[in-house]
Amino acid sequence: MNIVTKMLSTVVGLTMSAGIALAEPAIIFDLGGKFDKSFNESAFTGAQRWADETGGSFREIELQNEAQREQALRRFAEAGANPIVMAGFAFADSLGKVAPDYPDTKFAVIDVNWLSLPNVRGIGFNEHEGSYLVGMLAAQASKTGTVGFVGGMDIPLIRRFGCGYAQGVKAVNPNATVIANMTGTTPAAWNDPVKGSELTKAQISQGADVVYAAAGGTGVGVLQTAADEGILSIGVDANQNYLHPGKVLTSMLKRVDNAVYEAFSAGENLETGNFQMGIANGGVGYALDEHNASLVSDAMKSAVDAAAASIANGSMAVHNYTDDETCPAISF
């Protein structure tokens, strides 16, 4: 046996054993793209953190259109990736079809908590709770008593953000006006900063001086215009305070990164079932760093932290729009 065959057999043996012992996890990003400074980027950060800490590698794909959902899922499952994490509510239908075909593969899906399949982990977030907190901050920072909300695509999930926000605003100032706008009704609404800007300008002309954007890439335009026009804005999902230091009041944090990190860390032993991440278990919150320290006074902070504590211990509940498709604080 010469040295070349020896080396070859070692390499083959190594790759085979690696393939059997350690299935790579995989993540599928939604249409906003993995660098949307927001939801998908947060998911990517979690995956990257896992890779950096463990030295492992993961497979990933950014969807370009709706038709790729099921295809991408099946391809990863066929290739033996395990677990497969999906970022986005829109995967629910495809996953419902694909998951039963691959009983040995574990799936984790973010923003979907209604599938009950034996190999699926559904992770829902209490966005209304986090939005409630930033709504309280918005109402306290507002001088005009009018605040705005810019949503991305008009879906119940985004209305949940808006509804929680409006409840937080009204909790501080019952007479406050909340102007809510949605960018559109198609997935293109996640990537239209120009329209985000126009919505912000329209809200400013109606008196808004704090605007909360829950709109993916469209939110970049909202934050930009708010900074240009000298009003405050609130970022979403990831910490966006650094985009315009001193002009972003805070960001509603949705710890998608933690959810992805946990799923990747659990690997094939991922616990399935439906899980809900709220203030109580660190799933949502608001961002405070050096970029917005001057905007959030101690009084504001203590009021919000008190509310967060009572939501966490269950003595106060924030109404969830998706429970009954109605909102006590605002009509869409």
Binding site: G33, S205, V220
Partner: protein, 380 residues
Amino acid sequence: MIEFLTLLQVLDSSLRLATPLLLVCLAGLFSERAGIFDIGLEGKLLAAAFVSAAFAAITGSVWLGLLAGILASIMLSLLHGLASITLRGDQIISGVAINFLAAGLTVVVAQDLFGQGGRTPPLKSGGRFEPINFPGATSSKEMNEAGPLMQFYSELLSGHSLLVYVALLTVPISWFILYKTRYGLRLRAVGENPAAVDTAGISVRGLRYSAVIIGGVLCGIAGAYIATSLQANFTKDMSAGRGFIALAALIFAKWRPWYALSACLLFGFFFAVDTRFQNILLPAWFLSGFLILIALGLLSYVWKKDYLDKAVLGGLAVGISIIAFLVIFSVWDTGTSSQIKIPVVFIQSLPYVLTVVVLAGFVGKAIPPRAGGQPYVKER
């Protein structure tokens, strides 16, 4: 009743939203009047937006950004020209290819250059086209106290970026070039009957190339407006289909410059209404009356038409009347003066509905340039 200032703010927003549409629409007009269909407007707009934002970010000068954006857009125009004029390929395929090329390349190059995930870094105040405030215009904070004339002057006329005024100027210039110069006559002729132009000893290729280059310049300005004036950086797919909406506006405008201005302003107005008001309340009697009028208009239109037209359009008219009666029926208990909520989605779809109406030939006839889409082959 809507306040005067609100109306002005909506018109102001319409102007901002109409500007990129107008520039891209005129770009398409030059190209299509010369017989080159241009599906690739969206791609050129996106590429120009990226290149202008990238150059403005690197050099710190918005003018260099604008120039680079225009050059990038011209490059794509020349590519389209090469495929469809010189190589006589299919113009639609080449245009679609340009759209895909721009959508992919912008993000990949941006990621490679700046490493911010397909975005360009935010531009500082010197690297953007800032709003120009006319002398004596009041600031937006004191707008409520100002008189109506002052509001009109400060809100609507003043406070736009330079490129908005440039876009408005391109309309008379385009009209003059197309209808008052020898070059314009030849350009229009080459889109109708290139053989006649060729017989007169004028280069068909030269004219068509010049037309697509003019289109490239206009798309370049539009892209720079989106990325360096409306926004302060490039983000993935930020043109959001405006190139296609401009194509619809071009058809709506029947390939004429002044009509293009009104079409784009109308589309911009719809978009502005849609951003300002989430839902529109209309009295039920007004809504159903309007629908019945449309239905009657349709019926009178099909009166002398073929059997098939009668069946299809008559059916449409009956459908609209049924909706009108349903509206009346739904508010029967509360009185017909009660208000009906019109969802904003309906307003969003209006530009497309209107374009279809024009294409269907209800309002005049939209006749595209006769030689459009056909590569010119010299007779041998």
